[in-house]
């Protein structure tokens, strides 16, 4: 259980205490990742099924790694070559997998709300690994974790200091890109304000969805306005299928006005501001290589923290024994 919740469908329904419960446990999980022997018996005998209806390398591997470190059995079930191509419905697929008695079903699906539909029909815990443009809660949590870690280091903590989540209070995070199609942006908007941070969103007006300000976002269309004074900047991936959607005329113009390169970063960003990206990066479109690989980038920290956060999520939802990690 995460607080009152049997499932992790979205961060919208989690309160501050529940978010902190996961993040604090993730900090302990991260210590396990630093050990030479990365294996604990916590979830031995538990089964995690990764049910992915959309292509994903990073998120699926992250959940799989997290499950294996906790000694759970992980089964990967992808839509390609499955019965879905034979016309089986989502509910049927989920029920069939449930008959194999997993403890946790991790699901990614192109349709917003699909994990919730599955959660209503199965007995096991369900984790949303990204549904349409709705939410990607484990990403939202790992972003908050990474930001707290960055702010802790900036405040003088050592490289392995435990993140102080209180440091998110009063900070400003700019999310830049195709917010309209981004579940990462939405989970960020549901998470960061609960931890005291302010969120700005920025992109061409065609990529800013109606009513986003009602989710607490401050809306900008000019990149300098969005990033000046921000403590962190999250660049979103521009999906190639959006070009000519027609949301934007092309990547060249997008990159010129909403992409970040070293010159713009130095000119506009605060000295200590870090840069995040949920991956995979379109190098040279939203992010120039020298910025993605530069000193401000915490992109690889995000990947590592993703494993720690997912270990915490699986632990809490699979109902592992004592947290002896």
């Amino acid at each position: 259980m995460i607080g009152r919740h049997r499932h992790l469908i979205g961060l919208e329904e989690l309160d501050r205490g529940e978010i902190l419960q996961v993040l604090q446990l993730a900090a302990s999980m991260k210590e396990v990742l630093r050990r030479p022997l990365k294996k604990v018996p916590t979830l031995r005998g538990k089964a995690v099924v990764n049910l992915f209806f959309e292509a994903s390398t990073r998120t699926r591997s992250s959940f799989e790694t997290a499950a294996k470190i906790l000694s759970a059995d992980a089964l990967n079930w992808t839509a390609a070559g499955s019965s879905v191509s034979k016309g089986e419905t989502l509910v049927d697929t989920a029920r069939n997998l449930e008959a194999m008695r997993p403890d946790v079903l991790v699901i990614r699906h192109a349709a917003s709300g699909a994990p919730r539909l599955v959660a209503e029909r199965v007995g096991c815990a369900v984790v949303n690994a990204g549904d349409g443009a709705h939410e990607h809660p484990s990403q939202g949590l790992l972003d908050a974790f990474t930001l707290a870690e960055h702010f802790t280091r900036a405040a003088g903590g050592g490289p392995e200091a435990a993140p102080d989540f209180g440091l998110l209070a009063g900070k400003t995070v700019a999310i830049v890109g195709d917010v309209s199609h981004s579940r990462v942006a939405r989970s960020g908007l549901h998470c960061l304000p609960k931890l005291g941070a302010k969120v700005r969103v920025c992109g061409p007006p065609t990529m800013i969805p109606a009513g986003i300000e009602r989710m607490g976002a401050e809306v900008h269309h000019a990149l300098p306005d969005a990033v000046k004074g921000a403590d962190a900047v999250m660049m979103l991936r521009i999906q190639h299928e959006r070009i000519g959607d027609p949301l934007i005329p092309g990547t060249r113009e997008y990159s010129k006005f909403w992409g970040l390169n070293a010159r713009k970063a130095e000119e506009w960003l605060s000295p200590g501001a870090c840069i995040l990206h949920p991956g995979p990066i379109n190098r040279g479109v939203e992010l120039a290589p020298e910025v993605a690989d530069g000193p401000r980038s915490v992109i690889l920290d995000q990947v590592q923290n993703g494993v720690a956060v997912r270990m915490a999520v699986l632990y809490l939802l699979a109902g592992g024994g004592e947290a002896h990690v």
Partner: protein, 428 residues
């Protein structure tokens, strides 16, 4: 010997005759004989005790999908007509998007034959605007009218081509048929799952802007002016559409409009609260609170002529899916009266106007001889208990459709008896 039925003690509300008060309705041989304060009742007359009830003309619904022929697993003419009379409706206009579509006399005749066999509500078929509902050529309106069609509609899909719409409005004048339209600009609407707005943004669902509807309404108001044709605007859901209809009426055009109970009662934020429940998915989608307010006001002031349910049954096969993948459409015949009565209780609509919007006004829009208790009219009557409290249990619907956003809700107001041609077809 003539057959006599007295409906006694009820409050008779018949806006077609300006009646509202305690009256007795006398039915002789299937027709209204008399509506009067005091009538001597012969001993042989049968009686319906309507004390505490409303007695109104049977309701007229200009917009139902009965699914037959072709999708009998969703609904049949008989089950749909049964649902209609259970909801107080005695006349329903059956949309043409069956399989095959109703673009020729043989389909019209089949629907009428099934309705006659069921012997419940009067079913008035609506023929297609375009052959095959393909939006390319005109259907044969003369043949459709001769077979029994009362209007034309490609409902389910918009008439995308302005040129075809112009010719449809013009050509239909030859047969004095209204052209009823589902207004949705397909390009502007795109692939959508709900109304575009803050709720869709939060849910991560693709939104359809309100203007995808109102832009088409404005287009067709202009075409109604160009052609002098009879235009009926179906299931209006936005403030912009209401403005266009108001302007059309100001110009004196032959334009009428309908609103569905769900658009009058619910919003996109209600859908968000229900989660991704596909019993809340329909076309047009539930709109914003401002849109709902505009539609309510337009119904109250008569800009929108009538209530029509857009009763659109589906089976679990189309509905037990991801929200994006589920079919649009909910059932409405058996909840419409109670839902609309809720608007009356909120002070948004007068009782008289509600009854008019369910009886005389829709009959007028399609030119149907229905919706009245005038002496000599067929005795199509609804007896309603405005205080009856009940819980919506879709598994008890007469319709085969089970998808209602009011599933599990407590509603007030229910039809207790329905007469068609003086025959009791619902209640006992």
């Amino acid at each position: 010997m003539s057959e006599l039925l007295f409906i006694e003690g009820g409050r008779v509300i018949d806006p077609s005759g300006g009646v509202d008060g305690l009256r007795t309705v006398v039915v002789r041989d299937g027709r209204i004989a008399e509506v009067a304060e005091r009538v001597e009742r012969p001993r042989e007359a049968r009686v319906i005790d309507a004390r505490g009830r409303w007695v109104t003309p049977g309701f007229v619904d200009l917009h139902v999908h009965l699914r037959e022929p072709g999708q009998e697993y969703k609904e049949t003419v008989a089950t749909g007509a049964r649902a209609a009379v259970a909801g107080g409706f005695t006349t329903v206009a059956a949309m043409a998007n069956t399989s095959p579509v109703n673009d020729n006399a043989s389909v019209t005749e089949l629907v009428l034959a099934r309705a006659a066999a069921a012997g419940l509500a009067r079913v008035r078929p609506v023929g297609c605007v375009s052959r095959g509902q393909k939006g390319e050529e005109l259907a044969e309106y003369g043949e459709l009218k001769a077979a029994g069609c009362v209007a034309l509609s490609d409902d389910g899909r918009p008439v995308a081509s302005p040129a075809l719409m112009r010719r449809a409005l013009e050509y239909a004048r030859a047969f004095d048929l209204p052209v009823a339209v589902h207004e949705e600009d397909p390009s502007l609407a795109g692939k959508w799952a709900m109304h575009e707005g803050a709720a869709a943004t939060r849910m991560g669902l693709k939104g359809m802007p309100a203007q995808a509807e109102s832009a088409m309404v404005w287009r067709d108001v202009e075409l109604a002016e160009l052609t002098g044709g009879r235009l009926h605007l179906q299931h209006l859901s936005t403030a912009g559409s209401v403005r266009a209809l108001r302007e059309a009426k100001r110009r004196g055009l032959r334009v009428t409009g309908e609103a569905a109970p769900h658009h009058l009662a619910l919003t996109d934020e209600d859908l968000a609260r229900a989660g991704y429940d596909t019993s809340w998915k329909m076309n047009p989608p539930l709109r914003s609170a401002e849109d709902r307010r505009a539609v309510q006001e337009a119904l109250a002031d008569g800009t929108i002529d009538c209530v029509a349910t857009d009763h659109a049954p589906h089976s679990a096969v189309e509905k037990d899916l991801e929200f994006d993948a589920a079919a649009n459409g909910i059932v409405g015949l058996e909840t419409a009266f109670a839902v609309c009565l809720g608007l009356v209780r909120q002070g948004l609509l007068s009782e008289r106007r509600l009854v008019e919007a369910l009886t005389a006004a829709p009959a007028r829009a399609f030119g149907l001889a229905a919706g009245t208790l005038a002496p000599g009219a067929p005795a199509d009557v609804a007896v309603l208990d405005p205080a009856a409290e009940w819980r919506v249990e879709p598994e008890r619907f007469h319709s085969k459709g089970r998808h209602s956003p009011w599933k599990g809700a407590a509603l007030t107001g229910r039809c207790t008896h329905t007469l068609v041609d003086g025959r009791l077809v619902h209640g006992s």
